[in-house]
Symmetry: C2
Subunit: 318 residues, 2 copies
Amino acid sequence: MNFANFAMRRKMKKNQSKRPLTFFFLCLFVAIFFNGSFLFPDESKNRPGGYLFMIGGGHRPRSLMEKFVSLASRTGPPRVIILTMASSVPEETGPALVKEFKELGVEKVDYYHFSREEALKPETSSFLEGATGIFFSGGDQSRLTAAILDTPFHEKLLDLYYQGAVIGGTSAGAAVMSEIMITGEEKRKVEEGQEWTTIEIENIITSRGLGFIKEAIVDQHFLRRRRQNRLFSLILENPGLIGLGIDESTAVLARPDGKLEILGESQVMIIDARQALVIKDEKGKLGGLNIKLHLLLAGSTFDLKTGKVATTLKPGVK
Amino acid sequence: MNFANFAMRRKMKKNQSKRPLTFFFLCLFVAIFFNGSFLFPDESKNRPGGYLFMIGGGHRPRSLMEKFVSLASRTGPPRVIILTMASSVPEETGPALVKEFKELGVEKVDYYHFSREEALKPETSSFLEGATGIFFSGGDQSRLTAAILDTPFHEKLLDLYYQGAVIGGTSAGAAVMSEIMITGEEKRKVEEGQEWTTIEIENIITSRGLGFIKEAIVDQHFLRRRRQNRLFSLILENPGLIGLGIDESTAVLARPDGKLEILGESQVMIIDARQALVIKDEKGKLGGLNIKLHLLLAGSTFDLKTGKVATTLKPGVK
């Protein structure tokens, strides 16, 4: 060791002795100016404060809709906005849904049906002022995204969701919730009644949905219309996402705590291929080894992050 | 400790000292007279030496049938017996299958179609003398079991399977293989095209199958006819059994080593609820938490006992 080296090491030691104090002031600075969020990000801050209420179509049990209303009433009397853009007969769908909510005791409820041109105007979003519940009607999900995807109105809906509103929909109105949206079409030429008979790559047609839920792909009328093949196809193509196959008269409630809760009269099939080994043959048929599957009834929950399931029903079928 | 107790303990000790010799002679006796099988049962002895070849219906790829023939040729030139009792048009089905096997190079191939009355006669089993392959045609599985279940002919088929023959069948001819056989009917009243739209208890009608495979329930035309709901219903009612949903142009080969091997052009869905938590709601809808599901392509295997899967395909879908 030469002298220069020795001197440098002494200097370093001197500096080190000052560090605790420097670190203390740095922490104080961070604590005051960034509220700690820079060093210790609070995950719950990036999570929505509201609820998603995704109904698989079909008859809506009264108890299901009462739950929607109660979630929209958390901060006071509810204000519900119905959007009928998915429907081809909004003049029927709109009033019927308004009537349904009025019968559930909601006084402030209106339906809106407008074009993309309207959705692009900033003033259109004023419809949503004070809304505590949004409800998308059934119909064709592509009509709804064509009207509002990436408009200021869409932005406002996302804001409302993050701020605490309950965003619900049935059938097409549930399909729009995910980022990858099933359009209801497939590339294979099929005869009527012969839809969704394969599990293969690049067959199921999707487009961008409204993106309220980013961890899952939502399908509906699931058992009733036997749509397993199409959801398996998509999940094996996108194994990082959870497949949510919601049957009729049944809902998945996405809660602010990151858990999905099952409500209603039938089942939700949850396909979790995140730990699976996904395979494909030379003709594009898809396979998966060790897929986790849950068939959940009302009273069950699924944790989107951990994949853990729980139920209030007691085990056994007898 | 009193004296009596002390004496007893000494006596026990004395007896113990004689034990090693007694045990040695016992072992020798067992080894000679029972060939060890009483103390150390050799599981492979209770297992069939033959193969089950269950095809999910539809077009049969030539390579699939070549595999059947090669398995029936393990001990020499094959002798194939076709049974057409499931078919409503045996005079068409029989000759067509005979032709198919002849084109595959099988010289000794015949089809038989007979009533239960015939099957009960011991001499009917003489058809099967020297058979190395049995093939059940498609049609209605209940017609086949009505003709042969629990007859001497059925017994002889089971013997052949245990002795090394390959027992195959397509569609209804695959459905008959399991102990619990799906008949193709359900209890719910359903309109045409609306079959199998629920997963519920006591709906799917089953009867006793031929029982070649006891660990599974076999379903066929599986993806093509979107039969997931009916197989899930049965497996959740019988979670100790494995659900085998075989698609068209695809086969499950049950091998003597206890593994199932996938052959052919499409997928087999394997539902393993043995470790699942099965639930039921008050209306009889069934649920299951943590069901294992495998969607297997040709080149994959499933171990019936351990539930382990393997594949020769490389992971990934791109």
